[in-house]
Point group: C2
Chain length 349, copies 2
């Protein structure tokens, strides 16, 4: 039966194990076993208990269970404040996939406000642990020199990182193969007839940025194409991207950008130079932000499989909670190139 509306709002206090036990004519322990180790019960008893469970629509009290088992069945996830104007680093998609897969494993996500790189950052994580508020963490936006993975690892706290660019190569992670994405972009552009393909990225030093640049370089070499003077950098600002792109205008017929934001800066720079993005110069972005589809011309972009990333994070974290000492798991997912107008005009040299 288990009707939300009928049994759910039933008067007469909360539905506890004891109540179910009374109704089924057994002890509370037997009810507990019916839930957690049903194989221990005689078939008849199990059936009877399950009926009572169902009729009362019993749900265990999380706090009580948590107190006894010393496990909150909650996973911590720190949300960072997005600096205004930067592309949102983590989308709803990821969070939804994460919550959804966690739910299915009986876990929930606990959000907390984290200041990335702040001095008291470890303090926030530590606090949650000492309160027994979480059983583990999902980290995102790891960066070179990120101290969180090492710190958590040392404490023996289960965690997975979305991103493989932490201080040491320690612990489990899930990441998207950026190099694979930019290489796919190059392959696509070469197939369309392009030979002079520039890369617009961030200054060297960031894991993500260097990874994406590396994919471009590898693919260019593989096609025996020149990379000299075709790599330009800018911080993630339109104006800076504009001046960076100005330097390759005339030297390149296509641009692979490390982000959609940079790609937009590129659009702008091209228009300033009297060129038409998509027609005169092909452009491919990265991240497949919601705007990419809507631009004119619509922007080809490399889409990260955030759903899969979320699910993988959950799966690995569950493994790690079960067996903290097992060998770390690493999952590298391939992104997908979405071809749109900005790169689909046939190029004839």
């Amino acid at each position: 039966m288990a009707r939300t509306t009928s049994a759910g709002g039933r008067k007469g206090g909360p539905v506890t194990l004891a109540l179910v036990a009374q109704r089924a004519g057994v002890s509370t322990q037997t009810v507990s076993n019916a839930l957690n180790s049903p194989e221990l019960l005689a078939p008849g008893t199990l059936k009877r208990v399950r009926e009572a469970l169902d009729e009362l629509d019993y749900r265990p009290h999380r706090a009580a269970r948590s107190l006894r088992t010393r496990s909150s069945r909650l996973i911590g996830y720190g949300v960072q404040p997005t600096p205004p104007g930067l592309s949102t680093p983590v989308s709803d998609h990821f969070l939804h996939a994460l919550s959804d897969s966690a739910d299915q494993a009986g876990y929930r996500i606990l959000l907390f406000a984290a200041l990335l790189g702040a001095d008291d950052e470890a303090e926030r994580y530590d606090e949650l642990l000492r309160e027994h508020s979480v059983d583990g963490f999902v980290l995102n936006n790891t960066y070179r020199g990120d101290k969180r993975p090492g710190w958590l690892h040392k404490k023996g706290v289960p965690f997975v990182a979305f991103g493989r660019w932490s201080a040491k190569d320690t612990g489990d992670w899930v990441d998207v193969d950026g190099a694979h994405g930019t290489a796919a972009a190059v392959d696509h552009l070469v197939a369309a007839g392009h030979r002079k393909i520039a890369f617009l990225g961030w200054p060297r030093g960031s894991g993500v940025g260097d990874d994406r640049a590396g994919g471009w370089r590898e693919a260019m070499r593989r096609h025996h194409l020149p990379v000299r003077d075709l790599r330009v950098s800018s911080v993630d600002e339109v104006d800076a991207a504009r001046s960076a792109v100005a330097r390759v205008v005339g030297r390149a017929t296509a641009v692979v950008a490390a982000s959609d934001t940079l790609a937009l800066g590129c659009y702008r720079a091209l228009r300033d130079a009297g060129l038409s993005p998509g027609r005169d110069v092909a452009v491919v972005g990265f991240d497949d932000s919601p705007a990419a589809r809507l631009l004119s011309p619509s922007l080809s972009s490399v889409r990260q499989p955030l759903d899969e990333v979320g699910r993988a994070c959950t799966r690995i974290l569950m493994d790690r909670i079960k067996d903290p000492a097992a060998a770390p798991e690493r999952v590298l997912l391939a992104p997908e190139l979405i071809v749109r107008e900005s790169s689909s005009a046939e190029h004839r040299p």
Copy 2:
């Protein structure tokens, strides 16, 4: 001295009230009082207990506290899966502001996967309640006919809605004054010399959409300008927006769009018609999505104060948890028009 790294990882088991009590030479109850009702303690005792608390860097066990007080100090927030290609309905900004302000009030955010409008949607909320997993909810994306507010209200569950478009006008909410935003856009365009200002929105029936359309209409009337045949609708798709805009091309010199996505569709339609957005026809969007700043021409847009919305949600929810029977609070926040290139060229008729 409450060092994260020293006392935090201290061996010898968890730091409990009993341990603190032992160290301070008092009973556990006294320590508990020191934390929850310090005015009951003699000054000397308080000082001694506080020292012990500090030296051991004690943190209460959330589950234990929660079990006894019947309050989880957690707030439920359902994340919906974004349909691919639609603008992300809720940004990191909002979630960060929400978590941050909740943290300061001693609460945390519990994320769960919710399918908006699904049959078993109430079930998800109900489950969290019967498990005593949350003390209340923050709802987002309320819509006309949304049954959640009425349902929660009837059950006496504390909640705040971000959005005032629920089934009945019941419960507390925080919202952004969309009409104010579009009216400000009209005022701005009128000041720049425009008289024929079209509105590009969604089909009638959605609270948010009608609100934004209403602001445009009110402002147009206030300026004694015609609204006839200047309101066009499309679902949130670029192609549909394109054909919608085609209908007003030539009749309008400016367009106020109900979202940045629609504004992008408008950009596209204008270019198709051989017109230049920003120069030939001014465009103003809504939401100030990350892309707005980066477009060429950069898009004027109405920015929602999501930080404030998040903080207001927390504040109101705290009030409601303290006193569930008090009169509902409603907060309507004014959005801010961000003027960029798409509407800043002087218009001379």
